[in-house]
Symmetry: C2
DNA sequence: CGTTAATTTGAGACCATTCAATTTCGGTGG
DNA sequence: CCACCGAAATTGAATGGTCTCAAATTAACG
């Protein structure tokens, strides 16, 4: 069997989204792909592009983003390892936003046709893909609420809660973890300025809710952070 | 054939999203459903609910919404006629947001099982549903950009552009149309206060970009409105 | 150990909010 | 047809959260 363990984490994740049998898992593991490495800020996908292949993030972070005429940038969602960059491209064709690598990342490039065949042949995987996309949508919906209605403190606290829980759901330690997101990126994700993001982070540190130093985030007081963020993880559809 | 023309507009809309043959269209038209009427502000779906049926908006508007602990409300998207309230519920089970009727609306309640069978049996309809959901996601992504990075004038202008174009794509006149959205709802959709929404609308009227009176919106200067909004309709995936 | 990126600090300006009151609109009943 | 009512829209003035524009400091990296 010419299996490749790079896709094993994806199989594991999709198993939590739909009931997969042995053949389903096998079909994932034998998907054809090639690996590619992207540097910090490199584009994985550009608005207007019509990719013939889909990209699966193997390691590192990435983010969906749109640029404004005036040069402003709004980050729309973060992508964690084993999430798809453009599962949607197969149907809509043209990309309507950009995806950039957040730090150095590793990606599996999979022919679109292989994924389409998978979806056609395997109802369970179809369900998993559907659930995958729906959760992604639910997260973006919560982001509208976050940037639309919460003040800077709650907004940043909420984003940190979300990332922590998503990492925990993915099997990483959610209380202390690598946090390669710069304050400028955090600002672009929350709709704030870098300056104000900085002051807000300082406040969260002063109040001993978090500890954030040299690319590592530690959550010191979960209860208070959730409280400050008005965070309810129902929308992540995991627990 | 016990067809019911209430579902014909849905068949027409889905035809623009995927290649549907005669049988596909027939399958849509013969879906079982019952009609229901909802008053202004009535809930079509509540967070935490696990509906056994899906609701399709036949006439009137609705909106997706989330409430905050402090009583604030953020509108996440508007639903136009012939859009589904909860096509996602079938997979995720629990609703993560609320849907309210914007004005008096009419809804087709369809058993979830019927939709699942449709998707299982008909690849083309599956594709249409997938595209449907993906466009919905794209709209919500643009909303993150809207509330995150645009000032009040651009924000409201953008929302008006989007609604006009979505209505035009649905076959309605996009230059002048019924606009039952109150300023309070507009405020909740843009993350602004009703007071500031009012002042911003007045500015758009003063500059003769729009005419908004007694539930009717007329776009007087498309070029200037698009300009003010930084509006690019690519994300609606229609033209 | 030099160089660039990232974070931090300060002060003033501004966009949007808050709070409260008033006016207009749409629908209803006398 | 007019009087009434609640909802929606409008106005004013003061407050405040976030932004802007620099400049300084610290961290990351080859």
């Amino acid at each position: 069997m010419s299996e490749n363990l790079h896709l094993a984490p994806l199989a594991r994740r999709w198993s939590t989204l739909a009931r997969l049998n042995h053949d389903d898992r096998e079909a994932i593991l034998t998907l054809p792909f090639r690996r590619e490495v992207f540097a910090k800020d490199a584009y994985l996908l550009r608005e207007g592009q019509q990719p013939a292949e889909s990209a699966l993030l193997l390691s590192g972070f990435a983010y969906r983003q749109k640029l404004l005429r005036d040069g402003g940038r709004q980050i729309i969602n973060f992508l964690l390892p084993n999430e798809f960059v453009d599962l949607q491209a197969a149907v809509l064709g043209t990309a309507d936003h950009n995806v950039q690598s957040l730090n150095r990342s590793e990606v599996a490039i999979i022919p679109r046709s292989a994924l389409l065949e998978l979806a056609d042949a395997r109802p369970n995987l179809r369900t998993a893909m559907w659930a995958d996309k729906l959760i992604d949508s639910a997260i973006v919906r919560e982001w509208v609420v976050n940037v639309g209605r919460r003040d800077s403190r709650a907004r940043i606290a909420h984003l940190l809660c979300e990332i922590a829980v998503r990492l925990r759901n993915a099997g990483t330690n959610g209380d202390m973890f690598d946090f390669p997101i710069t304050q400028e990126q955090l600002a672009d994700a929350t709709g704030l300025t870098p300056v104000h993001t900085n002051r807000t982070l300082q406040a969260l540190r002063r109040d001993e809710l978090i500890q954030l130093t040299s690319g590592s985030l530690k959550i010191l007081n979960w209860k208070a952070l959730r409280e400050a963020a008005d965070f309810d993880e129902l929308y992540l559809h995991q627990s």
